[in-house]
């Protein structure tokens, strides 16, 4: 059982070895995921994760954080907004941040094989959503579907792809 955030923050502030690493392992992948959603690019997501970890650690050490959840949300939101405006902040890491390696990459050829097995309409919706970054309303209008129907089809396609990639 991992310690809750409040306890981890106290341990960081007490200078306990390993507490910062635990905090980074907990939040690093979450920050990266937030970056992937909002910046839609792996390298940009990695930058956001590194920057957010630095800001979080500094604030925890200086006892400026009351609620870690609210604090990291504000940090991630601001960093994502800055990245979208084209601002790049330089990361000055004093130490190597113990962030886990990036997500395991999906094998491109395997994905292509699974994708080919999808019904054509599901292929189109997935491509328009994730590759072309179109909204579900745009997709529905283009394919003469309701938005609800387009969402259901997209979810079904993602479930099929996951099952195929996992060898089910």
């Amino acid at each position: 059982m991992e310690p809750p955030d409040d306890e981890l923050m106290r341990r960081v502030q007490a200078g306990e070895g390993g507490a910062e690493a635990l905090l980074c392992r907990r939040y690093g992948p979450r920050f990266r995921m937030f970056g992937l959603r909002h910046l839609r690019d792996e390298a940009a997501a990695e930058d956001l994760a590194q920057q957010a970890l630095l800001v979080m650690l500094q604030a925890v050490r200086e006892r400026r954080v009351e609620s870690l959840g609210a604090f990291v949300f504000g940090v991630c939101r601001n960093l994502a907004a800055a990245a979208k405006r084209g601002e790049r902040r330089t990361v000055h890491a004093e130490v190597e941040l113990p962030i886990d390696p990036p997500f395991d990459a999906v094998d491109g050829q395997r994905l292509a094989g699974c994708f080919e097995r999808l019904p054509r309409r599901e292929q189109k919706i997935v491509t328009m959503s994730f590759h072309e970054e179109r909204s579900v309303d745009e997709i529905a209008a283009a394919l003469k579907l309701t938005a609800v129907n387009a969402r259901v089809i997209r979810h079904r396609a993602i479930a099929r792809l996951r099952a195929c990639l996992e060898g089910a």
């Binding site: 959840g69 949300f73 395991d104 999906v106 590759h131 579900v136 259901v152």
Partner: protein
């Protein structure tokens, strides 16, 4: 806030669920953040999964992510050499077959000896102009034998497909 459903998670990654409460929840809920982290690699892979016929919207999305895209015009009926530029991540072959207004467009790739390489059914094309963009990735050079190949474009208007243009491309 209660936990995010699998459907909502897909909507969130697709950008169709824009809600700060969901953002905050996914950063702080162990269970939901873990589920989102499981889905993230697939979403990321789908963003860069490039279909062999690409739309202008898809190319613009790749450019926003920093991809360097080279274009090569390929006139119908002519033999064109389209080398993959060293400084490009993607080579787009720009075709303009007479398919404006078609209900559906298919492509067939063959070697110069007439061996069928691949069939692309129901490809993306611009309905108003007929523009069709084929995406070549660098690793295709390892998959397809070097040399010239022919692309036959077929249009359908609710009936049987008809071949309307041929393109000859030498890739190196």
């Amino acid at each position: 806030m209660s936990c995010i459903t699998p459907e909502e998670l897909v909507d969130w990654f697709a950008g169709d669920l824009d809600d700060e409460r969901v953002d905050r929840h996914l950063l702080t809920c162990d269970r939901c953040s873990l589920e989102a982290q499981r889905l993230a690699p697939l979403v990321n892979a789908l963003r860069i999964h490039i279909p062999q016929s690409v739309s202008t919207a898809g190319l613009q999305a790749l450019q926003r992510r920093g991809w360097r895209i080279a274009h090569h015009d390929v006139p119908a009926g002519e033999h064109v050499h389209a080398p993959f530029p060293d400084d490009a991540d993607l080579l787009v072959l720009d075709l303009k077959p007479p398919v404006a207004g078609a209900a559906r467009v298919d492509c067939v790739f063959e070697t110069s000896a007439g061996v069928k390489l691949i069939e692309l059914p129901d490809v993306a094309f611009e309905a108003d102009t007929g523009r069709l963009q084929l995406a070549c990735q660098r690793h295709y050079l390892e998959i397809y034998p070097p040399g010239e190949f022919k692309v036959t474009v077929l249009r359908s208007d609710g009936d049987a497909p008809i071949a309307v243009a041929e393109f000859y491309i030498r890739h190196t």
